[in-house]
Symmetry: C2
């Protein structure tokens, strides 16, 4: 049976569903059709829904009107495989070596969404029945910010109503260290452009007499942090919820720092005083300059006083920071008239709210029980520094609790070459999901939210 | 006669002698051979001297052992013609439209070096004789910093010994406003690289906990100037020679600011308090950030905490700043250990000393008389914010005074598309050079330096 499952998963990985590349459109359509066929084969109702963008794949099994419905979210698009020459085997020709299945999307997120499809299959083959109702929502564009899903969720909410949402796109700490992520940072992506002289000037003829937008940009960006590593934007920390000492002790003891947080060996630690490296990248917000561009980019020198300079920023937010409010405060600081004769333009590319899942809710307890039974060890609860915009989107649109049930490992190489899936963990994932669906039925009465 | 001269100059411009492009090597060799033939045709001894690099073209006429020798420097290489689509006629197919000859190098510097060749020709045709001895030194690499000339001058000084050096690679103020440049700023081209984490990291997982080299770079660069526009590097101004009030008044009255200095219409004025825009870009030094690079450069956002950041700097120096000393001070500021966990590396690409020509020396007086006779108006004396490294090189190697006898106009479009030569000014330049050589003989006794 395991061999058949792997053959199926390899077929799914073979579609080069690179959402960032328009040339992948056909592959995305073919992959959606494959998923629809596959779900129908399992006994689900399934459809690929296309509006303007690529198809959103829906599946459902709802034969128990008196029981809760779980909405399982996954994405079938993948990151570009570049640098392609760094792969040991081709990214879209999945290959098994040792305990791993190699291929783009093997872990992020085709392997993880397949975990739940195979769990549903196992229930249906064993009992001809599922313990709860299930809906699948498979996103064709997670890696580029889910624009089509965003429109879909707001216009066709009824097709995905549920009592609990399950998102499988996070990591556990190790093959024997299951984990449930209960917090995600929010994200705000901005761009700052500065314009100085109307055209590039000669640095000999004009240097010293004309405001240089590159220098103005550096000066403004340097004001975003103080010398100690705190963010120096007035009001930036106002809404930051402080984390109880007991929770900080729990997080420190759970060992997440070893697996995920930067260690002295990976990078120079630096950041807000009073917090550990792991805390700085999870329970505290950050402003990261992700790109600087301006003037001459080639080798050697050039005598130019450039007309334009720009920078990209990625802000990571924690509860209860509001992306719009933080956006406003950063804009204010970057565009403040300090007498500099430059034009400043700030663009916001994307914004996502931070997420905090209440770990006491029944669906999270069901997930914890399921992990423990499959992995032989209770999961720890961890906070991630990353962002999954769809989690906040689903929570707000459906007004249901979300459980982040991830099965990726820290060394799966997500977004990099030789991305891989750890097969023993994958099969334990299926066991976890099988048990989770049963547990949801047990916890039914405690799922306190209105039925969809 | 004018038509023949223009035909010859157009032949010279047709060689695409782009020193920055290795593919132009043959064109450079062919152009050198053309120049040698042309000079021999005029009655000069001529040779193209090649060591490792492209040929340096030498010419000489020295039949008066009792008279002084003028070394005339020009360069036959040109800037790349990009953007080529912005040219009205192809850059290497010279075309006359109205009063202008269009083509890459028409003004910078093939037209200007040709002025002197035609002046020598005129003397020799008219009298079979020259009033003084003449040597030509034609550089194949001025636009890329004259590396071959540098080696040549230090190893074969005797072949270019002279009593005065003439460099024709500067501008006058307008067709009826002759000018002699008597000061050039020096130049120092540096690059700063900052290294943070050993590889690009995810800004979600690591943001806030790892030192970002882009931010460290901005912070350091922002320390180079104070808020008012003064350079904030300790000791930077120590050696700056102050300019007498009388000279500042003279420069302000000479009108250079209209033609060359930045005006409100071209760019936002900004700089050192207490000086006019024209002064800031001529008698005062400057630090210009010419390039910024780091992290993600594409469209839209990317969640990256980059491993590397870099910036290019161009420092413009005035007498008596020493490039090595200023280089040391800037390095000290950029690499100072302020506790930031980043590696900083500073590279120096090129350095050239500032130049100040004594306007009272006989050769400059001879040039002034010559301009006045040809243009019907006495030249003004101006300072340039630019740098011609070879001027300092020749002055030091030969220990002779240098005269900057330029004939370019501010709107010749040097280094840009549709570069052009103003033909009436070109022919007045020939008249100027003819008279200059005669004046040098008149001033002979006052040329106080030892004969070469």
């Amino acid at each position: 049976m395991r061999e058949r499952i792997l053959r199926e998963l390899m077929a799914l990985i073979r579609f080069p569903t690179i959402s960032a590349q328009p040339g992948a459109r056909l592959a995305v359509r073919d992959c959606a059709a494959w998923l629809v066929r596959h779900m129908r084969g399992l006994g689900l109702q399934a459809a690929a829904v296309t509006h303007d963008g690529p198809p959103i794949v829906l599946g459902e099994w709802r034969r128990h009107p008196d029981r809760p419905t779980a909405l399982i979210y996954g994405h079938y698009d993948v990151q570009p495989p570049d640098p392609i020459e760094a792969w040991t085997s081709p990214p879209f020709a999945p290959a098994i070596r040792g305990e791993h299945l190699y291929g783009r999307g093997a872990s992020d997120d085709k392997g993880q969404l397949f975990v739940h499809l195979k769990a549903v299959e196992q229930h249906l083959r064993a009992a001809g029945d599922l313990p709860v109702n299930v809906r699948f929502l498979l996103d064709p564009e997670e890696e580029i910010g889910s624009p089509s899903l965003l429109r879909f969720v707001s216009s066709e909410r009824d097709r995905i109503r549920a009592d609990v949402a399950v998102v499988s796109d996070t990591r556990i700490l190790g093959p024997d260290r299951p984990a449930i992520t209960y917090a995600l940072r929010g994200s705000l992506s901005m761009e700052v452009e500065m314009a100085g002289p109307p055209r590039d000037l000669h640095s000999g003829n004009y240097g010293g007499a004309v405001r240089n937008p590159l220098e103005a940009l550096c000066r403004r960006l340097a004001t975003l942090h103080d010398r100690d590593g705190r963010i120096a934007v007035p009001g930036f920390y106002d809404a930051v919820r402080s984390v109880a000492a007991s929770e900080r002790r729990y997080l420190a003891a759970s060992g997440v720092s070893e697996a995920e947080a930067p260690s002295a060996s990976t990078a120079a630690q630096w950041g807000e005083p009073g917090f550990t490296p792991a805390e700085r990248s999870t329970i505290r917000p950050a402003i990261v300059i992700t790109g600087l561009h301006g003037g001459y980019q080639g080798p050697g020198p050039k005598s130019v006083l450039p007309a334009h300079a720009s920078a990209k920023l990625n802000v990571r937010l924690v509860p209860d920071q509001d992306p719009a409010e933080i956006d406003r405060r950063i804009r204010m600081q970057l565009t403040a008239d300090d007498g500099d004769p430059v034009q400043v333009r700030v663009t916001t590319h994307a914004a996502a709210r931070p997420v905090l899942v209440d770990t006491r809710q029944p669906a999270v307890r069901a997930a914890a029980t399921a992990y423990e039974s499959a992995f032989g060890r209770a999961p720890v609860f961890v906070r991630s520094g990353g962002t999954i915009p769809v989690v906040d989107l689903l929570s707000r649109a459906l007004r249901v609790p979300t459980v982040l049930m991830g099965f990726a490992l820290p060394d799966d190489g997500l977004h990099g070459p030789d991305e891989r899936l750890h097969l023993p963990t994958f099969f334990r994932g299926i066991e976890t999901s099988v048990r989770f669906l049963s547990e949801l039925a047990v916890h039914d009465r405690r799922l306190s939210l209105p039925r969809g």
